[in-house]
Amino acid sequence: MPDRNEILNELKNRYKDEIVSFYDKSPRRVYIEIKSESIVNIASYIFKELKARFNVASAVDARSHIEILYHFTLEYLDLLISLRVKLDRENPTIKSLTSVFKGSNWIEREMYELMGINFEGHPNLKRLLLSDKWPEGVYPLRCDYKEWDNNAIRDRGV
């Protein structure tokens, strides 16, 4: 069984130029920041060669830019690799991972709908969660989300 450091070093020098920063936080957590173009081949390398399990992708609105973290669990090593990708805030686009594994289909649709990131090559990028009356272009999970529904009641006892 290949041990933890071998795998990480092998990953590091295989994608030397695409990795921006490598943060080894603890024996179980590794955060790797990569360029947004190289997400598909790094993700497929981790998923296929390292036999990792795709856990979830979480999009974060960090006010100056939008970050996506793809989390992969390697059960046999008890290690969790998080690939961090930074996208600009106005028009965040990235390639879709549905070609690599089917599990990311719904996760990307949710990020498209709640955070406003569009994924190139996604089979059916449609609204996944909100009702049809939700206005286009309003993304609730963004920091600058304002309440658009003026007959909503928000105080107690009413």
Partner: protein, 394 residues
């Protein structure tokens, strides 16, 4: 080839959560399925950004009623992972006891519902009568039947007072004989063999490709259990073993869940017997800026919580991924090709929990012959009676 569209839901009496499956069927065979959930979306991730770290535990606990410990467990582990800190021993043991008690009552709940889907109403009433015992245990330990409000980043809110433990152990021992009769009734029942074996098969490759988690994946031979792989709480201080079966059909999923209940009872007894004394809370005052990831093996699979804190006392971002979110797409692999009568039990075999998932896809409006949800359950019950007649049991 008259294509007809069979909607299940969104409001039919038994499956109490609103979800809306749309089966495009050609006569008996199911050709395609569209899942239309999203009636439960309450925007919890945005809500937990409004609340402080301590208050967010209560919003997280109300994501799903039946797994109301798994989400706070994963959330508190995520917050503790931001500045890696260890929870005191006694808190670990109490957390494990509450999590396992909740696993028993969640599996019993699912078993009752599956029993009803197959037309075994006595099994449904029987299992839910047994479930009342474990709900009493949870009320003694935590003060409420579910929504236990026990978890807190850095430990536990209330301690278990020692003179409750004998009563709890007595109640748990009273569960085991009824559970044995239940196991015999389910696993050796010839009608169930004929009815559940060989349908809704999820192969190991599909399970890996869809990244399925929990009993749904363990029934197809995927040996993955967060409690074993990434031990936390008191799971590495207590001996229990992981239940894995290899055929992946609906019957195996029932077997995995029933045997897991025995493991949970073993864990609870060991934890309560050697409960270490001492502190139960770290009294965390301020959370440093950073990111934390917490996972927990919920009754339906692995929940995943990602918390990012920017130094203030409110989480800057909180991502929740429920187990059913990964298991629900697998129904495309299992339902297509099966007959309508089996569709309900296959969809229920992943133990869907829609309030965790809140997912929706828009379906295409075509097809003419419509009959609603509970006709489908009646269909499934008639099939069981037909099998009983063939076996000459009726």
């Amino acid at each position: 080839m008259a294509l007809s569209r069979v909607p299940i839901g969104p409001y039919h009496p038994l499956q109490e959560e609103p979800e809306y499956f749309n089966l495009i069927t050609d006569g008996e065979k199911v050709l395609d399925i569209e899942v239309n959930v999203g009636y439960n979306h309450r925007g919890i991730e945005k809500l937990s950004e409004r609340k402080s770290f301590d208050q967010a535990t209560f919003v997280i606990e109300r994501i799903c009623g039946i797994c109301s410990t798994s989400h706070p467990f994963a959330y508190t582990r995520a917050v503790e992972d931001v500045f890696p800190v260890e929870v005191p021993e006694r808190a670990k043991y109490i957390r494990t006891v509450i999590a396992e008690g909740e696993r028993i009552h969640s599996h019993l709940l699912w078993l009752g519902l599956a029993g009803h889907f197959l037309g075994y109403n006595t099994l449904y009433m029987w299992v839910w009568k047994l479930r009342e015992e474990i709900l009493d245990v949870m009320e003694i330990l935590s003060g409420n039947r579910n929504n236990y409000a026990m978890f807190k980043p850095g430990g536990i809110r209330r301690d278990i007072n020692p003179d409750d433990i004998p009563l709890v152990l007595k109640k748990i021992d009273s569960i085991v004989p009824t559970l044995d009769r239940l196991r015999k009734a389910i696993i050796d029942d010839p009608v169930l063999h004929k009815r559940l074996k060989g349908i809704g098969i999820l192969t190991k490759e599909d399970a890996l490709d869809y990244c399925a988690v929990g009993p749904t994946a363990r029934a197809s031979g995927v040996e993955k259990d967060v409690r074993k792989d990434d031990p936390y709480g008191a799971y590495d201080r207590v001996d229990w073993d992981m239940i894995v079966t290899y055929k992946g059909d609906v019957f195996e999923k029932v077997v995995v869940r029933v045997l897991e209940m025995y493991e949970s009872i073993k864990i609870i007894k060991q934890c309560l017997k050697n409960l270490p004394p001492g502190e139960i809370d770290l009294k965390l005052k301020d959370i440093p800026p950073g990111e934390g990831i917490g996972t927990h093996e919920a009754p339906r699979g692995e929940t995943f919580h990602y918390v990012r804190s920017d130094g203030t006392n409110r989480p800057a971002r909180h991502k929740v991924r429920a187990p059913t979110y990964m298991n629900l797409p697998t129904c495309e692999a299992t339902v297509i090709g099966e007959s309508i009568a089996d569709a309900t039990i296959i969809l229920a075999s992943i133990d869907p929990c829609y309030c965790c998932t809140e997912r929706l896809t828009v379906f295409s409006p075509e097809g003419n012959k419509l009959y609603n949800g509970n006709d489908l359950i009646k269909l499934s019950q008639q099939k069981t009676d037909k099998i009983k007649k063939e076996m000459g049991l009726k």
